[in-house]
Symmetry: C2
Subunit: 340 residues, 2 copies
Amino acid sequence: MRTPVTIRNVATEAGVSISTVSKALNGTGHIGAKTREHVIAVANRLGFRPNDLAQSLHRGRSFSVGILSNDIYGRFTLPIVGGIEEALSDNRVSVFLCNAADDLERQKRHLDALLAKRIDGLILTARRTDYLAPLDIAALGIPVVHAYAQSAAPGAICILPDDEGGAYDATRHLIALGRKRIAHVGGPQSFEATRLRQAGYRAALKEAGLAPPPDSELFGAWSEEWGRDAARRLIDGKAGLPDAIVCGSDQIARGMADGLREGGIDMPGQTALVSFDNWDVIAAATRPALTTVDPNLKELGAQAGLTLLSLIEGKDVKPGIRRVPSKLIIRRSCGSPDRS
Amino acid sequence: MRTPVTIRNVATEAGVSISTVSKALNGTGHIGAKTREHVIAVANRLGFRPNDLAQSLHRGRSFSVGILSNDIYGRFTLPIVGGIEEALSDNRVSVFLCNAADDLERQKRHLDALLAKRIDGLILTARRTDYLAPLDIAALGIPVVHAYAQSAAPGAICILPDDEGGAYDATRHLIALGRKRIAHVGGPQSFEATRLRQAGYRAALKEAGLAPPPDSELFGAWSEEWGRDAARRLIDGKAGLPDAIVCGSDQIARGMADGLREGGIDMPGQTALVSFDNWDVIAAATRPALTTVDPNLKELGAQAGLTLLSLIEGKDVKPGIRRVPSKLIIRRSCGSPDRS
DNA sequence: TTGTATGCGTTATCAC
DNA sequence: GTGATAACGCATACAA
């Protein structure tokens, strides 16, 4: 079943030496034009494919990197991994995908395997941006970048979404549309993302000379149920219904939309909604469809991949946290025109 | 930054020959107990890690395989890839993840890279089960298995979900609960999955001496919108509301549930719902929470990985299609007790 | 029990 | 312009 046609086979078949074949195929060294063509023809005919293992062994670079995740099943992992893979494969490097599944022993096994396979670099990913991978990066001896993950290690390079900026943009969008009494219904406050989004929301408000209405900064779970629950609280609140709500996720917004609609509230007439994630299955199916902050996860992944590449090639990269700008996706939940 | 401690370093440091180190570390050949311990100690102290590239080159087996997908972003890809990765990494083989993105040229690039890296085998995945990868498998020269994908190639090995069995089970569940007028609202008929599910639904009905009520086999899109649309059609139908509905996906069921509820229908009182996917974000958030067929995608991936392993090890595997049994997840949308 | 020599598939350094 | 030859890091048949 194997097809181990080696450079030696090509050499004998072409009636030249091994080194001549190598030169002909790699365009290195000085070689006769006719010999070159001949060798290439023979190589093609035989279906010769240089053994990358041998090449890697020789040049001390494997052109492969590892992605180590603790949550391969997470909804956020996918676009990130996709972005990494695309950016890297465009640069001829392959990626090993490893799922540590929050299991330290498994993580070690994966790391051992990756290191043994002489990966040129490693990308760490996590379920939430404020997760700290318990891992001695420096001891690895290869470049590491964190994608959608943070590290306390000195000099660590972390690529993260711009939660604060996203919330700021979303809130400003609401303000620009004339909304003034803007509430914020976020996820769990234990998440850094939640706190950052609140900060962005507040910043935009403050800048416009506004303030959060009383009892209108609510925090709960990342769920539709919490969104529905919050809707009731907003409807029943003595402060009166806000004319806009910044939700911490599309799921929350979806619950909110359902809750408000069932409470007889008109959207976006009485209340406008913006949210986070641009998880299209949710955002597009919500009534009204959600205007939402797209965290640009695929781009985040691509940047992580490219950054790792720079590191591998020896360029120096500024350490610390880099935040990837988000993008506001306009749909109907704010009442603005589709293009604005 | 590199830590290229080789077997040679260990040898000199330990004051023995290279082959002695190799034997000591691999437990092969006859060697003195004290020498072995000594060598091992030195190796550990130096942090020696055998170069897998060299080992692979030597043994002609790389202990790595490739996953080639056309749709890395698909919701189904994730659990499948996760299952593959887990099964394989438990057997010390690493996986390269490649996204062809429906681009033939990109696919070729990936294949070239994988083959050059001497992967031991390849797993092909797709967006839909009836997708045919335009690829000459035999020419690859390595074992291939299709996961959630089919191939017309003779001798191809395909692992697929059991759509028909799942629909059969779901429908029988409804019948066992006393429902008699059972409708079916599926996805696009162009999907094999849709046709198989319809077949399973009909088989269960027939077996129970029942038949689909008039105008109650509806087909549309894989969307909530279609579910809501179908709900109106069922409510307005002159044949009267069915007392149960088998939906082709959780998304359809979610739209159906919303449509029915807003149409004043009580679930599961008047009408029970079952669906497909067990996509928990949808299924659990629907009111009522959906009883749904879990296609066991992770298990499917694991089986694909294990099957590939068998192939690689030279065992022979029965070619053709193997369907992985699904599992009915009981929630509230059928009115049955949570455990049944 | 241990060490020497050879090969795995390539590339690169040198002679010729 | 072309071809031996020595690495790359490791495993193993064989010799000692």
